[in-house]
Structures are given as C-alpha cells and as structure tokens.
C-alpha cells in the first residue's frame, strides 16, 4: 500500500512539474508583446517605445527563458506567486479572494448534483425500462448536451427576468449564488444520473445476489450492503472527470453571473495579459485537480481491493 501510495505521489509531482513547465513555455511564447499590453493597461494611450522598454525591464520580460523560468518556480515553491504585472499588487491576496468565491460555489454545486442525481437514479432503477427510467435517461442525455453557459442564460431569463424571484448579477448575498449553483449542479446531476443508474443496474446483475436473496435478507439491506458499494465504484471513477467538468463550468458560469471568482479572475487576466495572474490560476487549478485525482486513486483502491491487487 505504501509503495503504491508513494508511486502515485511521485507521479503527481512529475505531472505537476510538467504542467508548470508547459504553462510557462506557453505564456513565454504567446504571440503579441506582453510589455506593450501591460503598458496599455497601466497608462492607457500615448505609448512611446521608451515606456514599453521600461515596462519590459520592470516586468522582467527581457531575460532569457530559463532564467525567467527559475525566477518564477523558485518563489513558487514557497507559495509566492509574485506580483501582478498590471497593478503591481501581490497576486496571492487577490487570488485568495477569488478562491473564496469559487470554492463554496463548487461544493454547493456538487451537493446539488448529488442531491438531484441520487434519488433520480434510484427511482429510475426501480423499474428499468419503465417510463420513470426513460424520462431520467432522456433528461440526463439532454442535460449533458446543454452547455453550462446557455443553461445559465436560460435560468436568468426565467428566474431573474420573467419571474424576478432571484438576483442574476454579482455575488453580494447568498441569494446571488442560487442560480449559479443550480446551473452547475444540474449539469453535474445529468452526468452523475447516468453513471449511478448504470452502476446500480450492473450491481443488480451480479451472480451473488440471488444467493443472498434466498437466505432471506431484506431488499433494503441488500441495497445498502451489496448494491450501493458496487455502484459506488464507477461513481468514484468518474469523480475526476466530474471535477474537470465543474471547473470548466465554473469559468463560464462565473463570467455569465458576474461573480468575482477564479474563472472571472482568469478571463480578465488573459484579456489584460497579466501573466503572473494567469500562471497563478493555472498552477492552483492544476494542484487542486492533481490532488483530487490522487485522492480518488487512493479511495478507489480502498473501496475495491481487486484493483489494488491487480496494480501491485
């Protein structure tokens, strides 16, 4: 177990270093002159070559690639993300503020997704092929095909414009989070419903179930002790994909609802060519993503010992 665990951690470190390098190389080679973009953002108009050259010097854009890379990675190890090249302020406080908007939204959306998909899948598998089942499958298929930003716009149209029940733009009160959480949660629910449903159906086909039934175990106990753990394996497998879906959705949903979270932070940093900001978001997202996937791998091995045995 310790050997597999350290192997997984080593792999995560290799992958993270690769991501950091790829990100830096991409930004370094991005077309357009970042110094000019920064100068425009800071001083608006009337730029002479001289001003741009000074900005280039100050932002450290005139060094060679490797020097710049190590200057970035070194402090990064100490969790120092440097200063914004546009405002000159340290990156971390601003980044932290935006994380404090994004993280709760992500958790609530996951909760909404589970709260919708679990009962729906259980209800659907009561009678496979029945009309509830067919409706659930149809809703799930349509749900996975709807882009998060369009669903968000539709919800704004219905609940904010027509009914005027909920606020649409901003993040001042908890009520502002309802529509974004619904948008993301319904997307998560759609794909989870499919997975949970097929997991339950597959668990029902296991050859040991008739034997347990004949021993007189109640259907409720069978569901809890035998079907649920079986159906959980595929759900854990797709949690990583679900997280990716959630992060992708967060970017779009925050932009639509005007929430000052990580997604908005990223998009405005890209538009302003604020490279330290872009790098910081990419690194944070990659660390979260790799860590969660690492945890999923570990959980996966804990709940299904066969996998650990096969890998060893």
């Amino acid at each position: 177990m310790i050997a597999t665990l350290s192997g997984l951690v080593l792999r995560a470190i290799v992958v993270l270093s690769g991501t950091a390098f790829l990100t830096f190389a991409l930004l370094w080679n991005a077309p357009g002159d970042p110094a000019q973009a920064i100068a425009m953002a800071r001083f608006d108009a009337l730029l002479s070559e001289d001003v741009i050259a000074q900005v280039r010097e100050e932002a450290g854009l005139n060094r060679n690639f490797w020097a710049a890379f190590w200057d970035w990675v070194g402090p990064l190890m100490m969790l120092d993300f440097g200063n914004s090249s546009v405002t000159g302020r340290p990156v971390w406080p601003d980044l932290w503020t935006s994380i404090s908007y994004t993280f709760p939204l992500a958790i609530v959306s996951l909760g909404v997704g589970l709260a919708v998909s679990l009962p729906l899948a259980i209800l659907a598998t009561r009678r496979p092929g029945g009309w509830v089942d067919r409706c659930a499958v149809a809703i799930a298929s349509i749900g996975t095909a709807i882009p998060a930003f369009w669903l968000g716009l539709l919800l704004i149209l219905l609940f904010a414009v027509h009914l005027a029940w909920l606020p649409a733009m901003g993040a001042r009160t908890p009520a502002h989070a309802i529509l974004p959480a619904m948008t993301l949660g319904l997307g998560v629910a759609a794909s989870l419903t499919r997975i949970i449903r097929s997991g339950i159906l597959e668990a029902r086909n296991q050859p040991f179930l008739p034997a347990i039934q004949r021993r007189g175990v109640t259907p409720h106990a069978i569901g809890r002790d035998h079907i649920a753990p079986h159906a959980a394996v595929p759900v854990v497998t797709v949690l990583g994909l679900e997280l990716a879906f959630l992060l992708e959705g967060l970017v779009m949903v925050e932009v639509i609802f005007g929430r000052p979270g990580l997604g908005t932070f990223l998009v405005s940093a890209i538009s302003a060519r604020d490279f330290p900001h872009v790098q910081a978001v990419v690194v944070v997202a990659a660390v979260v993503f790799v860590t969660v996937n690492l945890l999923i791998d570990v959980i996966y091995k804990l709940i299904d010992p066969r996998i650990a045995a096969r890998d060893a």
């Binding site: 992958v15 790829l22 991005a30 882009p147 992060l247 992708e248």
Partner: protein, 264 residues
C-alpha cells in the same frame, strides 16, 4: 433511437447544404430592421444589427460543425500517433509519453483551451490550435491501452519476427484493431468540440466577429435578453441538438461494437 440517427444525418446535411438554404446574407447589416420579432419576412427575427437570425444559424452550422469535425480529426491523428508511440516505443518512451499526456490531462481541457485561445488572440486558427492541442489525450490513452494488449498477439509477434518495421506493424496490424474504439472516442470528442467552440465563442475568444458562429451569436444575444429573449434561444438549441444527436449516435455505435465483440 432511429429519430436521433435521422437527426445526426440531418446535421451532416445541414453542415453541407445549410448555407444554400439561407434566405439572406448572414453578414448583411440592415439597421432599420434591427431586433425585429420572428415573422413572415424574417422567420426567426433579426439581431441587433438587423442580420437575419435564420440565415446566421444555417451558415453557423457550417462553422460550428465543420470546425468541430476538423478539430476532432486533428486530435484523433495526434492522439493515435502519440498512443502508438507509447505502446510500440518500449518502456522508457512509454513512461515519458504517458507522463506528458498526464501533464496535459492535469488541467481541465476547456480551461486550457480558454487560456491558449485567449493568449493567442481571437481567430479561427488559434481556436483550432487551442482545441486540438487540448483534445488528443483520450485518444492517446485508448490507443496505448489497446496497443499494449496487442503486443503479445500471435500475428504481431510473427510480424516482428518477419522483420516488419514498427511503422508498418502500426499501420497494418494495430490501426485496424484500434479503429472501432477510436471512432467511439471520436464521437464524444466531436460533441465536446462543438461545446468548446461555442464556449470560446461566447467568451469572445472564438472565430472573428462577423462570422456567424453559434457561441458568438449567443454572446451578441445576451445583451438583448430583456427585449428579444427568443434571439438567445435559437443558437443554444442548435448546439444542444447537435451535441445530443452526436452523443446518442456514439452510444449506439458503442453498443453495436460491444454486441459484435460478445457474439464473435
């Protein structure tokens, strides 16, 4: 199910012949007629510049579906090549290639595409580049997995003993076995590419402005949500219908392949 297959065929026809059916020029600006409601003259109404929405949707089909097809094809080629390289290249190459793939996967694909397309600046080429570069990893994983399982098969071992070059073995012995699974992955990535193109278009990092792409149309429509909400409905419906049709077609294909395998 049959109706969805019909929808998929209709989509292909729409991509090919849609622009010919358009009643107006999709970029012709007609300010006096701006934001007109659906009616006899403009079946789905007009946008803020008086451009016919139906014509823009039909032309948009070629951009959205055509670009998604191209992008999923490019990433198919990259991914298959990378995956086979890992499977055939020996242990060191396998490790290096798969950790590189993991690094690319260490980031949600669409977010990476937003970063790349955003930094390269709006435009069709940066859109194609951004979505292809972030879309090849699933193909690579599938190609490598099947490739590794083929290595010990009799005909592959004999081909090696007969002195066939690795490239010839990859071409004649690996590719035919890979095709069914890769096609299933491809349908999923085709659908994802449609979503990706419209997402980038909606963020303003997509194709250049006058081009009638569905995501960009949604971006235009968003501002006029209160006055003409219907304008926002059509492009979204087009995206959902396309993605749904392709996804279901992919599911049917996967079921057909697994049925065939279990029978043989």
């Amino acid at each position: 199910m049959r109706s969805v297959l019909a929808l998929a065929i209709a989509l292909i026809l729409l991509g090919g012949f849609g622009p010919m059916l358009a009643p107006y020029d999709p970029v012709a600006i007609n300010i006096p007629k701006r934001l007109s409601p659906p009616g006899a003259e403009f079946l789905l109404g007009t946008d803020a510049l008086g451009r016919d929405i139906l014509s823009r949707l039909l032309h948009g089909a070629r951009w959205s579906l055509g670009l998604a097809f191209l992008i999923s094809l490019i990433s198919l080629i990259i991914g298959t090549a990378v995956g086979l390289m890992a499977a055939l290249g020996g242990k060191v190459a396998d490790w290096a290639v798969m950790r590189t793939t993991d690094s690319f996967l260490a980031f949600p694909e669409l977010v990476a595409a937003v970063v790349i397309a955003g930094l390269m600046g709006a435009g069709t080429w940066s859109l194609i580049f951004a979505l292809s570069v972030t879309g090849w990893m699933r193909y690579a994983r599938v190609a490598r997995g099947i490739g590794l399982s083929l290595q010990t098969r009799g005909y592959v071992v004999q081909a090696k003993l007969a002195g066939m070059s690795p490239i010839a073995i990859a071409r004649w012995h690996y590719l035919p076995s890979l095709l069914p699974s890769l096609t299933v992955v491809w349908t999923g990535m085709f659908a994802r590419a449609i979503l990706g193109i419209s997402s980038l278009g909606f963020l303003g990092f997509g194709v250049e402005p006058p081009i009638p792409e569905w995501g960009a149309m949604l971006l235009d429509a968003r501002v006029h949500m209160r006055s003409t909400p219907l304008q926002m409905i059509w492009p979204g419906l087009a995206v959902v219908a396309s993605v749904l049709a392709i996804n279901v077609a992919g599911d049917m294909l996967r079921d057909a392949i697994s049925n065939e395998r279990s029978q043989s």
